[in-house]
Amino acid sequence: MSQLAVNLPGLQLKNPIMPASGCFGFGREYSQFYDLSKLGSIMIKATTVEPRFGNATPRVAETTAGMLNAIGLQNPGLKKVIDEELAWLDQFDVPIIANVAGSLEEDYIEVAREISKVSNVHALELNISCPNVKTGGIAFGTIPEVAKELTKKVKEVSSVPVYVKLSPNVSNIVEMAKAVEAGGADGLTMINTLIGMRLDLKTGKPVLANKTGGLSGPAIKPVAIRMIYEVSQHVNIPIIGMGGVQSAEDVIEFFYAGASAVAVGTANFIDPLVCPKIIDELPALLNELGFDHISECTGRSWKNNEQLAYHRA
Protein backbone atom coordinates (compact mmCIF):
# COMPACT_ATOMS: atom_id res chain seq x y z
CA MET A 1 0.00 0.00 0.00
CA SER A 2 3.01 2.33 0.11
CA GLN A 3 2.03 3.42 -3.40
CA LEU A 4 -0.88 5.20 -1.76
CA ALA A 5 0.58 6.45 1.53
CA VAL A 6 0.64 10.25 1.83
CA ASN A 7 1.83 12.62 4.51
CA LEU A 8 -0.04 15.85 5.11
CA PRO A 9 0.14 18.20 8.08
CA GLY A 10 -0.98 16.15 11.08
CA LEU A 11 -1.98 13.26 8.88
CA GLN A 12 0.06 10.20 8.05
CA LEU A 13 -2.40 8.48 5.77
CA LYS A 14 -2.10 4.86 4.59
CA ASN A 15 -4.04 5.99 1.56
CA PRO A 16 -5.40 9.36 0.43
CA ILE A 17 -9.09 8.36 0.46
CA MET A 18 -11.53 9.48 3.11
CA PRO A 19 -15.28 9.97 3.39
CA ALA A 20 -16.29 13.64 3.33
CA SER A 21 -17.92 15.33 6.29
CA GLY A 22 -21.69 15.02 6.46
CA CYS A 23 -21.74 12.02 4.14
CA PHE A 24 -20.62 9.43 6.64
CA GLY A 25 -22.14 10.42 9.98
CA PHE A 26 -19.64 9.31 12.60
CA GLY A 27 -18.92 6.07 10.77
CA ARG A 28 -21.19 3.72 12.72
CA GLU A 29 -23.52 2.95 9.82
CA TYR A 30 -20.69 2.19 7.44
CA SER A 31 -18.87 -0.02 9.93
CA GLN A 32 -21.51 -2.69 9.29
CA PHE A 33 -20.23 -2.87 5.70
CA TYR A 34 -16.44 -2.78 6.15
CA ASP A 35 -13.57 -2.24 8.58
CA LEU A 36 -13.15 1.53 8.91
CA SER A 37 -9.40 1.03 9.50
CA LYS A 38 -9.16 0.56 5.74
CA LEU A 39 -9.79 4.29 5.21
CA GLY A 40 -7.05 6.89 4.96
CA SER A 41 -8.99 9.12 7.30
CA ILE A 42 -12.57 9.96 8.25
CA MET A 43 -13.98 13.47 8.13
CA ILE A 44 -16.68 13.27 10.77
CA LYS A 45 -19.98 15.12 10.67
CA ALA A 46 -19.83 18.81 11.58
CA THR A 47 -19.78 19.40 15.31
CA THR A 48 -21.19 22.46 17.08
CA VAL A 49 -20.99 23.40 20.76
CA GLU A 50 -24.63 22.61 21.45
CA PRO A 51 -26.72 19.84 19.90
CA ARG A 52 -28.57 20.89 16.74
CA PHE A 53 -31.74 19.37 15.33
CA GLY A 54 -31.21 20.82 11.88
CA ASN A 55 -33.76 21.92 9.30
CA ALA A 56 -37.32 20.80 8.59
CA THR A 57 -37.87 18.03 6.04
CA PRO A 58 -37.70 17.49 3.09
CA ARG A 59 -33.98 17.88 3.50
CA VAL A 60 -32.84 16.27 0.25
CA ALA A 61 -33.89 16.59 -3.37
CA GLU A 62 -32.38 14.71 -6.27
CA THR A 63 -31.15 16.64 -9.30
CA THR A 64 -29.59 15.56 -12.59
CA ALA A 65 -26.41 13.68 -11.63
CA GLY A 66 -26.51 15.30 -8.23
CA MET A 67 -28.47 16.00 -5.10
CA LEU A 68 -29.40 19.01 -3.02
CA ASN A 69 -29.26 18.76 0.73
CA ALA A 70 -30.22 21.10 3.53
CA ILE A 71 -29.67 19.03 6.65
CA GLY A 72 -28.73 22.06 8.73
CA LEU A 73 -25.70 20.71 10.61
CA GLN A 74 -27.70 18.29 12.75
CA ASN A 75 -25.35 16.84 15.35
CA PRO A 76 -25.43 15.76 19.00
CA GLY A 77 -23.16 18.58 20.19
CA LEU A 78 -19.53 18.78 21.27
CA LYS A 79 -19.79 16.75 24.48
CA LYS A 80 -21.55 13.77 22.96
CA VAL A 81 -19.34 13.79 19.88
CA ILE A 82 -16.27 13.55 22.12
CA ASP A 83 -17.66 11.16 24.75
CA GLU A 84 -19.57 8.85 22.45
CA GLU A 85 -18.65 9.17 18.79
CA LEU A 86 -14.92 9.82 18.93
CA ALA A 87 -14.56 7.31 21.77
CA TRP A 88 -16.30 4.70 19.61
CA LEU A 89 -14.13 5.56 16.58
CA ASP A 90 -11.01 5.01 18.68
CA GLN A 91 -11.29 1.23 18.12
CA PHE A 92 -10.23 1.79 14.50
CA ASP A 93 -6.74 2.47 13.22
CA VAL A 94 -7.73 5.63 11.39
CA PRO A 95 -6.89 9.28 12.03
CA ILE A 96 -9.96 11.49 12.33
CA ILE A 97 -10.44 14.93 10.80
CA ALA A 98 -13.01 16.74 12.94
CA ASN A 99 -15.27 19.17 11.11
CA VAL A 100 -15.78 22.25 13.29
CA ALA A 101 -18.86 24.44 12.81
CA GLY A 102 -20.64 27.25 14.59
CA SER A 103 -22.62 30.44 14.39
CA LEU A 104 -20.27 32.76 16.26
CA GLU A 105 -16.51 33.02 16.41
CA GLU A 106 -16.59 31.83 20.06
CA ASP A 107 -18.42 28.65 18.98
CA TYR A 108 -15.71 27.70 16.52
CA ILE A 109 -13.01 28.45 19.09
CA GLU A 110 -14.62 26.32 21.79
CA VAL A 111 -15.25 23.32 19.52
CA ALA A 112 -11.74 23.58 18.02
CA ARG A 113 -10.02 23.83 21.39
CA GLU A 114 -11.85 20.88 22.94
CA ILE A 115 -12.14 18.50 20.02
CA SER A 116 -8.49 18.94 19.00
CA LYS A 117 -7.44 17.54 22.39
CA VAL A 118 -8.99 14.15 21.61
CA SER A 119 -6.25 11.65 20.80
CA ASN A 120 -7.69 10.23 17.58
CA VAL A 121 -8.40 13.69 16.15
CA HIS A 122 -5.35 14.41 14.02
CA ALA A 123 -6.61 17.50 12.20
CA LEU A 124 -9.52 19.93 12.13
CA GLU A 125 -11.60 20.92 9.16
CA LEU A 126 -12.88 24.42 9.73
CA ASN A 127 -16.36 24.55 8.26
CA ILE A 128 -16.77 28.13 7.10
CA SER A 129 -18.78 27.10 4.10
CA CYS A 130 -22.01 25.38 5.11
CA PRO A 131 -24.72 26.91 2.94
CA ASN A 132 -27.60 25.60 5.04
CA VAL A 133 -27.49 27.45 8.31
CA LYS A 134 -28.94 30.90 8.86
CA THR A 135 -26.10 32.49 10.74
CA GLY A 136 -22.38 31.92 10.74
CA GLY A 137 -21.08 29.18 8.51
CA ILE A 138 -21.02 30.69 5.11
CA ALA A 139 -20.65 34.30 6.26
CA PHE A 140 -17.20 33.32 7.50
CA GLY A 141 -16.50 31.67 4.18
CA THR A 142 -17.25 34.46 1.74
CA ILE A 143 -15.35 37.44 3.16
CA PRO A 144 -11.56 36.88 2.93
CA GLU A 145 -10.62 39.07 5.89
CA VAL A 146 -13.22 37.43 8.17
CA ALA A 147 -12.07 33.96 7.13
CA LYS A 148 -8.46 34.89 7.80
CA GLU A 149 -9.22 36.19 11.29
CA LEU A 150 -11.26 33.13 12.21
CA THR A 151 -8.53 30.82 10.94
CA LYS A 152 -5.96 32.70 13.02
CA LYS A 153 -8.06 32.43 16.19
CA VAL A 154 -8.79 28.75 15.68
CA LYS A 155 -5.10 28.05 15.00
CA GLU A 156 -4.24 29.67 18.33
CA VAL A 157 -6.38 27.21 20.30
CA SER A 158 -6.08 24.05 18.23
CA SER A 159 -3.72 21.28 19.29
CA VAL A 160 -3.70 19.83 15.76
CA PRO A 161 -3.27 21.23 12.22
CA VAL A 162 -6.21 23.15 10.80
CA TYR A 163 -7.61 22.66 7.31
CA VAL A 164 -10.12 25.22 6.10
CA LYS A 165 -13.07 24.05 4.01
CA LEU A 166 -13.68 26.50 1.20
CA SER A 167 -17.02 27.42 -0.29
CA PRO A 168 -17.38 27.50 -4.06
CA ASN A 169 -20.09 30.16 -3.62
CA VAL A 170 -17.63 33.04 -4.00
CA SER A 171 -16.51 35.10 -6.97
CA ASN A 172 -12.80 34.66 -6.28
CA ILE A 173 -11.82 31.38 -4.63
CA VAL A 174 -8.08 32.08 -4.96
CA GLU A 175 -8.47 35.20 -2.85
CA MET A 176 -10.26 33.18 -0.15
CA ALA A 177 -7.59 30.48 -0.23
CA LYS A 178 -4.75 32.99 0.09
CA ALA A 179 -6.54 34.73 2.97
CA VAL A 180 -6.88 31.56 5.07
CA GLU A 181 -3.31 30.57 4.21
CA ALA A 182 -2.20 33.96 5.52
CA GLY A 183 -4.32 33.24 8.61
CA GLY A 184 -2.19 30.18 9.27
CA ALA A 185 -4.22 27.37 7.73
CA ASP A 186 -2.20 24.15 7.40
CA GLY A 187 -4.26 22.94 4.47
CA LEU A 188 -7.43 23.41 2.48
CA THR A 189 -10.38 21.16 1.81
CA MET A 190 -12.47 22.00 -1.21
CA ILE A 191 -15.07 22.26 -2.41
CA ASN A 192 -18.16 22.43 -0.22
CA THR A 193 -21.53 22.28 -1.99
CA LEU A 194 -22.85 24.81 -4.49
CA ILE A 195 -26.05 26.59 -3.50
CA GLY A 196 -28.94 25.39 -5.62
CA MET A 197 -32.69 25.00 -5.70
CA ARG A 198 -35.31 22.68 -7.13
CA LEU A 199 -38.96 23.51 -7.69
CA ASP A 200 -41.88 21.12 -7.60
CA LEU A 201 -43.65 20.78 -10.95
CA LYS A 202 -47.12 20.58 -9.41
CA THR A 203 -46.91 23.23 -6.69
CA GLY A 204 -44.31 25.53 -8.22
CA LYS A 205 -42.69 25.76 -4.79
CA PRO A 206 -39.20 24.70 -3.63
CA VAL A 207 -38.91 20.98 -2.89
CA LEU A 208 -36.65 21.57 0.10
CA ALA A 209 -38.20 22.94 3.29
CA ASN A 210 -35.12 25.19 3.55
CA LYS A 211 -35.88 26.32 -0.04
CA THR A 212 -32.19 26.27 -1.05
CA GLY A 213 -29.70 23.49 -0.52
CA GLY A 214 -26.16 22.47 -1.25
CA LEU A 215 -25.61 20.74 -4.58
CA SER A 216 -23.26 17.75 -4.51
CA GLY A 217 -22.52 14.70 -6.61
CA PRO A 218 -21.00 14.17 -10.07
CA ALA A 219 -22.72 17.32 -11.37
CA ILE A 220 -20.28 19.55 -9.45
CA LYS A 221 -17.06 17.71 -10.24
CA PRO A 222 -15.94 20.04 -13.06
CA VAL A 223 -16.38 23.05 -10.76
CA ALA A 224 -14.28 21.38 -8.07
CA ILE A 225 -11.57 20.45 -10.56
CA ARG A 226 -11.39 23.99 -11.93
CA MET A 227 -11.22 25.56 -8.46
CA ILE A 228 -8.54 23.16 -7.20
CA TYR A 229 -6.59 23.78 -10.41
CA GLU A 230 -6.68 27.54 -9.75
CA VAL A 231 -6.09 27.48 -6.00
CA SER A 232 -3.30 24.91 -5.96
CA GLN A 233 -1.17 27.15 -8.16
CA HIS A 234 -1.44 30.04 -5.72
CA VAL A 235 -0.98 28.48 -2.28
CA ASN A 236 1.77 26.49 -0.63
CA ILE A 237 -0.46 24.37 1.57
CA PRO A 238 -1.93 20.99 0.55
CA ILE A 239 -5.47 20.53 -0.69
CA ILE A 240 -7.83 17.69 0.14
CA GLY A 241 -10.09 17.68 -2.89
CA MET A 242 -13.77 16.76 -3.02
CA GLY A 243 -16.85 17.27 -5.16
CA GLY A 244 -18.56 14.43 -7.02
CA VAL A 245 -15.84 11.80 -6.63
CA GLN A 246 -17.16 8.36 -7.51
CA SER A 247 -14.26 6.32 -8.85
CA ALA A 248 -10.51 5.79 -8.81
CA GLU A 249 -10.37 7.71 -12.12
CA ASP A 250 -12.05 10.69 -10.46
CA VAL A 251 -9.48 10.55 -7.66
CA ILE A 252 -6.61 10.76 -10.16
CA GLU A 253 -8.28 13.71 -11.88
CA PHE A 254 -8.46 15.55 -8.55
CA PHE A 255 -4.77 14.85 -8.00
CA TYR A 256 -3.97 16.14 -11.49
CA ALA A 257 -5.88 19.33 -10.61
CA GLY A 258 -3.70 19.85 -7.56
CA ALA A 259 -5.12 17.78 -4.70
CA SER A 260 -2.92 15.74 -2.33
CA ALA A 261 -5.76 13.61 -0.95
CA VAL A 262 -9.40 13.15 -1.89
CA ALA A 263 -12.66 12.92 0.00
CA VAL A 264 -15.67 10.99 -1.20
CA GLY A 265 -19.08 12.43 -0.34
CA THR A 266 -22.41 11.74 -1.96
CA ALA A 267 -21.17 8.49 -3.53
CA ASN A 268 -21.28 6.89 -0.06
CA PHE A 269 -25.06 7.25 -0.13
CA ILE A 270 -25.33 5.28 -3.34
CA ASP A 271 -22.70 2.65 -2.65
CA PRO A 272 -21.76 2.23 1.02
CA LEU A 273 -18.64 0.37 -0.12
CA VAL A 274 -17.42 3.03 -2.53
CA CYS A 275 -14.42 4.14 -0.43
CA PRO A 276 -12.83 0.69 0.00
CA LYS A 277 -13.59 -0.07 -3.65
CA ILE A 278 -11.70 3.05 -4.77
CA ILE A 279 -8.80 2.24 -2.43
CA ASP A 280 -8.59 -1.26 -3.91
CA GLU A 281 -8.73 0.00 -7.50
CA LEU A 282 -6.13 2.78 -7.22
CA PRO A 283 -2.90 0.70 -7.37
CA ALA A 284 -3.84 -0.96 -10.67
CA LEU A 285 -4.89 2.36 -12.14
CA LEU A 286 -1.60 4.00 -11.05
CA ASN A 287 0.34 1.14 -12.65
CA GLU A 288 -1.67 1.45 -15.83
CA LEU A 289 -0.94 5.20 -15.96
CA GLY A 290 2.75 4.64 -15.22
CA PHE A 291 3.02 6.19 -11.75
CA ASP A 292 5.05 4.67 -8.94
CA HIS A 293 3.27 6.71 -6.31
CA ILE A 294 0.00 8.62 -6.24
CA SER A 295 1.63 11.88 -5.14
CA GLU A 296 3.31 12.05 -8.57
CA CYS A 297 -0.12 12.93 -9.92
CA THR A 298 -0.56 16.08 -7.82
CA GLY A 299 -0.74 19.22 -9.93
CA ARG A 300 0.08 17.44 -13.18
CA SER A 301 -2.44 19.66 -14.99
CA TRP A 302 -0.34 22.77 -14.48
CA LYS A 303 3.18 21.72 -13.50
CA ASN A 304 5.87 22.08 -16.15
CA ASN A 305 8.22 19.26 -17.14
CA GLU A 306 10.99 20.23 -14.72
CA GLN A 307 8.58 20.24 -11.78
CA LEU A 308 7.21 16.89 -12.80
CA ALA A 309 10.71 15.44 -13.17
CA TYR A 310 11.47 16.65 -9.67
CA HIS A 311 8.37 14.90 -8.37
CA ARG A 312 9.28 11.67 -10.09
CA ALA A 313 12.76 11.70 -8.54
Binding site: E29, F53, R59, V60, E62, T64, A65, M67
Partner: protein, 259 residues
Protein backbone atom coordinates in the same frame (compact mmCIF):
# COMPACT_ATOMS: atom_id res chain seq x y z
CA UNK B 1 -28.37 -7.28 8.71
CA UNK B 2 -28.27 -4.98 5.68
CA UNK B 3 -26.73 -6.59 2.61
CA UNK B 4 -25.87 -5.27 -0.84
CA UNK B 5 -26.61 -7.69 -3.65
CA UNK B 6 -27.38 -7.81 -7.35
CA UNK B 7 -30.77 -9.49 -7.40
CA UNK B 8 -32.22 -11.05 -10.54
CA UNK B 9 -35.66 -10.07 -11.86
CA UNK B 10 -38.05 -13.04 -11.84
CA UNK B 11 -41.12 -11.09 -12.91
CA UNK B 12 -42.21 -7.49 -13.41
CA UNK B 13 -45.75 -6.68 -14.45
CA UNK B 14 -48.25 -3.85 -14.39
CA UNK B 15 -51.07 -4.94 -12.06
CA UNK B 16 -53.02 -1.65 -12.05
CA UNK B 17 -52.62 1.68 -13.79
CA UNK B 18 -48.92 2.59 -13.35
CA UNK B 19 -48.66 0.08 -10.48
CA UNK B 20 -46.02 -2.62 -10.91
CA UNK B 21 -45.40 -5.88 -9.11
CA UNK B 22 -41.70 -6.78 -9.20
CA UNK B 23 -40.28 -10.03 -7.86
CA UNK B 24 -36.53 -10.42 -7.29
CA UNK B 25 -34.39 -13.35 -6.24
CA UNK B 26 -31.37 -13.04 -3.97
CA UNK B 27 -29.74 -14.37 -0.83
CA UNK B 28 -30.48 -11.21 1.12
CA UNK B 29 -34.09 -12.44 1.38
CA UNK B 30 -32.81 -14.61 4.25
CA UNK B 31 -32.23 -11.38 6.20
CA UNK B 32 -35.86 -10.22 5.82
CA UNK B 33 -37.27 -11.04 9.19
CA UNK B 34 -40.26 -8.80 9.64
CA UNK B 35 -42.95 -7.26 7.45
CA UNK B 36 -42.71 -3.50 6.95
CA UNK B 37 -38.99 -3.31 6.22
CA UNK B 38 -37.88 -1.81 2.92
CA UNK B 39 -35.11 -2.11 0.36
CA UNK B 40 -33.07 0.70 -1.21
CA UNK B 41 -32.74 0.15 -4.96
CA UNK B 42 -30.29 1.49 -7.51
CA UNK B 43 -32.43 1.55 -10.63
CA UNK B 44 -29.70 2.40 -13.13
CA UNK B 45 -25.95 2.11 -13.58
CA UNK B 46 -25.88 5.74 -14.69
CA UNK B 47 -25.42 8.84 -12.53
CA UNK B 48 -28.93 9.90 -13.47
CA UNK B 49 -30.95 9.13 -11.47
CA UNK B 50 -28.18 9.29 -8.90
CA UNK B 51 -29.76 8.16 -5.65
CA UNK B 52 -31.30 4.87 -4.60
CA UNK B 53 -35.06 4.48 -4.26
CA UNK B 54 -36.64 3.20 -1.03
CA UNK B 55 -39.32 0.61 -1.88
CA UNK B 56 -41.40 -1.37 0.60
CA UNK B 57 -41.50 -5.16 0.62
CA UNK B 58 -44.92 -6.66 -0.14
CA UNK B 59 -44.15 -10.37 0.09
CA UNK B 60 -41.26 -12.45 1.40
CA UNK B 61 -40.65 -16.03 0.25
CA UNK B 62 -37.56 -17.19 2.11
CA UNK B 63 -37.81 -20.81 0.97
CA UNK B 64 -37.23 -19.64 -2.60
CA UNK B 65 -35.01 -16.60 -1.86
CA UNK B 66 -37.63 -14.34 -3.43
CA UNK B 67 -39.34 -11.12 -2.47
CA UNK B 68 -41.97 -9.00 -4.14
CA UNK B 69 -42.40 -5.24 -4.26
CA UNK B 70 -45.32 -3.21 -5.52
CA UNK B 71 -44.55 0.33 -6.62
CA UNK B 72 -46.04 3.17 -8.61
CA UNK B 73 -44.07 4.22 -11.69
CA UNK B 74 -44.18 7.95 -11.17
CA UNK B 75 -40.79 9.65 -11.17
CA UNK B 76 -37.85 8.89 -13.44
CA UNK B 77 -36.45 6.30 -11.01
CA UNK B 78 -39.55 4.18 -10.63
CA UNK B 79 -40.23 4.48 -14.36
CA UNK B 80 -36.85 2.90 -15.03
CA UNK B 81 -37.59 0.21 -12.47
CA UNK B 82 -40.86 -0.53 -14.27
CA UNK B 83 -38.87 -1.29 -17.42
CA UNK B 84 -36.68 -3.94 -15.80
CA UNK B 85 -37.01 -7.22 -17.67
CA UNK B 86 -36.94 -10.81 -16.46
CA UNK B 87 -33.30 -11.92 -16.13
CA UNK B 88 -31.94 -8.41 -15.59
CA UNK B 89 -30.36 -7.41 -12.28
CA UNK B 90 -31.29 -4.79 -9.72
CA UNK B 91 -28.76 -3.49 -7.17
CA UNK B 92 -30.48 -3.99 -3.82
CA UNK B 93 -29.42 -2.64 -0.43
CA UNK B 94 -31.46 -4.15 2.36
CA UNK B 95 -33.47 -5.15 4.19
CA UNK B 96 -33.59 -1.82 6.02
CA UNK B 97 -35.41 -0.59 9.10
CA UNK B 98 -37.75 -1.91 11.71
CA UNK B 99 -41.02 -3.36 10.51
CA UNK B 100 -44.42 -3.98 12.09
CA UNK B 101 -44.24 -5.87 15.39
CA UNK B 102 -46.47 -8.89 14.67
CA UNK B 103 -46.05 -10.16 18.22
CA UNK B 104 -48.10 -7.19 19.45
CA UNK B 105 -51.21 -8.89 18.05
CA UNK B 106 -52.29 -11.81 20.24
CA UNK B 107 -53.80 -14.96 18.77
CA UNK B 108 -57.57 -14.58 18.64
CA UNK B 109 -57.44 -10.78 18.75
CA UNK B 110 -58.63 -8.54 15.92
CA UNK B 111 -56.28 -6.39 13.92
CA UNK B 112 -57.18 -3.60 11.55
CA UNK B 113 -54.78 -3.07 8.65
CA UNK B 114 -55.26 0.30 6.95
CA UNK B 115 -53.40 1.15 3.78
CA UNK B 116 -53.48 4.15 1.50
CA UNK B 117 -52.36 3.92 -2.14
CA UNK B 118 -48.77 2.82 -2.43
CA UNK B 119 -48.79 2.33 1.36
CA UNK B 120 -50.88 -0.80 0.88
CA UNK B 121 -48.11 -3.24 -0.24
CA UNK B 122 -46.25 -3.85 3.07
CA UNK B 123 -49.57 -4.72 4.70
CA UNK B 124 -49.83 -7.83 2.54
CA UNK B 125 -46.87 -9.67 4.08
CA UNK B 126 -48.00 -8.37 7.48
CA UNK B 127 -51.47 -9.80 6.96
CA UNK B 128 -50.05 -13.16 5.87
CA UNK B 129 -47.99 -13.38 9.04
CA UNK B 130 -50.81 -12.27 11.33
CA UNK B 131 -53.07 -14.86 9.74
CA UNK B 132 -50.46 -17.53 10.51
CA UNK B 133 -50.60 -16.42 14.14
CA UNK B 134 -54.36 -16.96 14.16
CA UNK B 135 -55.07 -13.27 14.40
CA UNK B 136 -58.33 -12.03 12.94
CA UNK B 137 -57.48 -9.47 10.25
CA UNK B 138 -59.66 -6.77 8.71
CA UNK B 139 -58.34 -4.68 5.83
CA UNK B 140 -59.33 -1.17 4.85
CA UNK B 141 -57.60 -0.16 1.65
CA UNK B 142 -57.85 3.32 0.19
CA UNK B 143 -57.02 4.27 -3.37
CA UNK B 144 -57.43 7.40 -5.48
CA UNK B 145 -59.55 5.76 -8.14
CA UNK B 146 -60.66 2.41 -9.60
CA UNK B 147 -57.67 2.10 -11.96
CA UNK B 148 -55.24 2.30 -9.04
CA UNK B 149 -56.75 -0.57 -7.03
CA UNK B 150 -54.61 -3.69 -6.63
CA UNK B 151 -54.50 -6.88 -4.52
CA UNK B 152 -58.16 -6.58 -3.49
CA UNK B 153 -58.78 -10.33 -3.99
CA UNK B 154 -55.49 -11.33 -2.36
CA UNK B 155 -56.35 -9.39 0.79
CA UNK B 156 -59.92 -10.72 0.69
CA UNK B 157 -58.54 -14.28 0.91
CA UNK B 158 -57.01 -13.38 4.27
CA UNK B 159 -59.87 -11.48 5.89
CA UNK B 160 -62.67 -8.95 5.51
CA UNK B 161 -61.55 -6.31 3.04
CA UNK B 162 -63.09 -2.89 2.50
CA UNK B 163 -61.94 -0.89 -0.48
CA UNK B 164 -62.53 2.83 -0.63
CA UNK B 165 -61.75 5.24 -3.44
CA UNK B 166 -61.57 9.02 -3.19
CA UNK B 167 -63.75 9.45 -6.29
CA UNK B 168 -66.12 6.59 -5.50
CA UNK B 169 -65.32 4.75 -8.75
CA UNK B 170 -64.76 1.49 -6.85
CA UNK B 171 -65.92 0.35 -3.42
CA UNK B 172 -67.03 3.01 -0.97
CA UNK B 173 -66.51 6.69 -1.75
CA UNK B 174 -64.32 8.72 0.57
CA UNK B 175 -61.40 8.03 2.88
CA UNK B 176 -60.34 5.03 4.93
CA UNK B 177 -61.46 6.76 8.13
CA UNK B 178 -65.00 7.09 6.69
CA UNK B 179 -65.26 3.33 6.22
CA UNK B 180 -63.92 2.56 9.67
CA UNK B 181 -66.68 4.67 11.23
CA UNK B 182 -69.57 3.77 8.90
CA UNK B 183 -68.82 0.05 9.23
CA UNK B 184 -68.26 0.53 12.94
CA UNK B 185 -65.13 -1.63 12.79
CA UNK B 186 -63.78 -2.62 16.16
CA UNK B 187 -60.28 -3.93 16.72
CA UNK B 188 -57.48 -4.38 19.26
CA UNK B 189 -54.46 -3.32 17.22
CA UNK B 190 -54.08 -1.05 14.19
CA UNK B 191 -51.25 -1.23 11.68
CA UNK B 192 -51.15 1.37 8.95
CA UNK B 193 -49.09 2.66 6.05
CA UNK B 194 -49.95 5.44 3.65
CA UNK B 195 -49.99 9.19 3.07
CA UNK B 196 -49.12 11.36 6.09
CA UNK B 197 -52.58 13.01 6.37
CA UNK B 198 -54.11 9.53 6.61
CA UNK B 199 -51.65 8.47 9.32
CA UNK B 200 -52.37 11.67 11.25
CA UNK B 201 -56.12 11.12 11.04
CA UNK B 202 -55.82 7.52 12.24
CA UNK B 203 -53.50 8.40 15.10
CA UNK B 204 -55.88 11.14 16.22
CA UNK B 205 -58.97 8.92 15.86
CA UNK B 206 -57.68 6.06 18.02
CA UNK B 207 -55.58 7.54 20.84
CA UNK B 208 -56.43 4.64 23.18
CA UNK B 209 -55.62 1.83 20.76
CA UNK B 210 -52.39 0.02 20.06
CA UNK B 211 -51.40 1.79 16.81
CA UNK B 212 -48.34 1.26 14.60
CA UNK B 213 -47.64 3.63 11.71
CA UNK B 214 -45.22 3.25 8.82
CA UNK B 215 -43.80 6.63 7.79
CA UNK B 216 -42.47 7.84 4.49
CA UNK B 217 -39.82 10.52 3.96
CA UNK B 218 -37.37 11.55 1.26
CA UNK B 219 -34.16 9.65 1.92
CA UNK B 220 -30.52 10.00 1.02
CA UNK B 221 -28.45 7.04 2.14
CA UNK B 222 -31.19 4.87 3.66
CA UNK B 223 -28.79 3.50 6.28
CA UNK B 224 -28.94 6.28 8.87
CA UNK B 225 -25.84 8.26 7.97
CA UNK B 226 -27.10 11.33 6.13
CA UNK B 227 -29.81 12.63 8.48
CA UNK B 228 -32.16 13.46 5.58
CA UNK B 229 -35.20 11.56 6.88
CA UNK B 230 -35.38 12.58 10.52
CA UNK B 231 -38.55 13.39 12.41
CA UNK B 232 -39.10 14.84 15.85
CA UNK B 233 -40.11 12.68 18.76
CA UNK B 234 -43.28 13.65 20.64
CA UNK B 235 -41.55 13.56 23.98
CA UNK B 236 -38.83 16.12 23.38
CA UNK B 237 -37.83 18.14 26.43
CA UNK B 238 -34.59 19.41 24.87
CA UNK B 239 -35.93 20.33 21.44
CA UNK B 240 -33.45 18.22 19.54
CA UNK B 241 -34.43 14.61 20.05
CA UNK B 242 -35.20 12.81 16.83
CA UNK B 243 -35.74 9.49 15.08
CA UNK B 244 -34.52 8.49 11.64
CA UNK B 245 -37.33 7.13 9.48
CA UNK B 246 -34.93 4.81 7.63
CA UNK B 247 -33.25 2.93 10.47
CA UNK B 248 -35.26 3.79 13.61
CA UNK B 249 -38.48 3.33 11.60
CA UNK B 250 -40.08 3.22 9.16
CA UNK B 251 -42.64 1.76 11.60
CA UNK B 252 -43.23 3.71 14.80
CA UNK B 253 -45.67 3.23 17.63
CA UNK B 254 -48.49 5.77 17.62
CA UNK B 255 -47.49 8.78 19.71
CA UNK B 256 -43.78 8.11 19.43
CA UNK B 257 -42.93 10.66 16.74
CA UNK B 258 -44.48 13.85 15.37
CA UNK B 259 -46.07 13.20 12.00
Amino acid sequence: MIRNEQCIVLSNQEIAHNIYELTLKGELVQQMNEPGQFVHLKVSDSVDPLLRRPISIAKIDQSNDQFTMIFRAEGNGTQLLAKKKVGEFVDVLGPIGNGFPVEEAKAGSTVLLVGGGIGVPPLYELSLRLKMRNVHVIHVLGFATKDAVFYEEKFAELGDTYVVTVDGSHGEKGFVTDVISTQNLSFDTLYTCGPTPMLKALEAAFPDKNVYLSLEERMGCGIGACFACVCRTKDDPTGHSYKKVCTDGPVFKGGEVLI
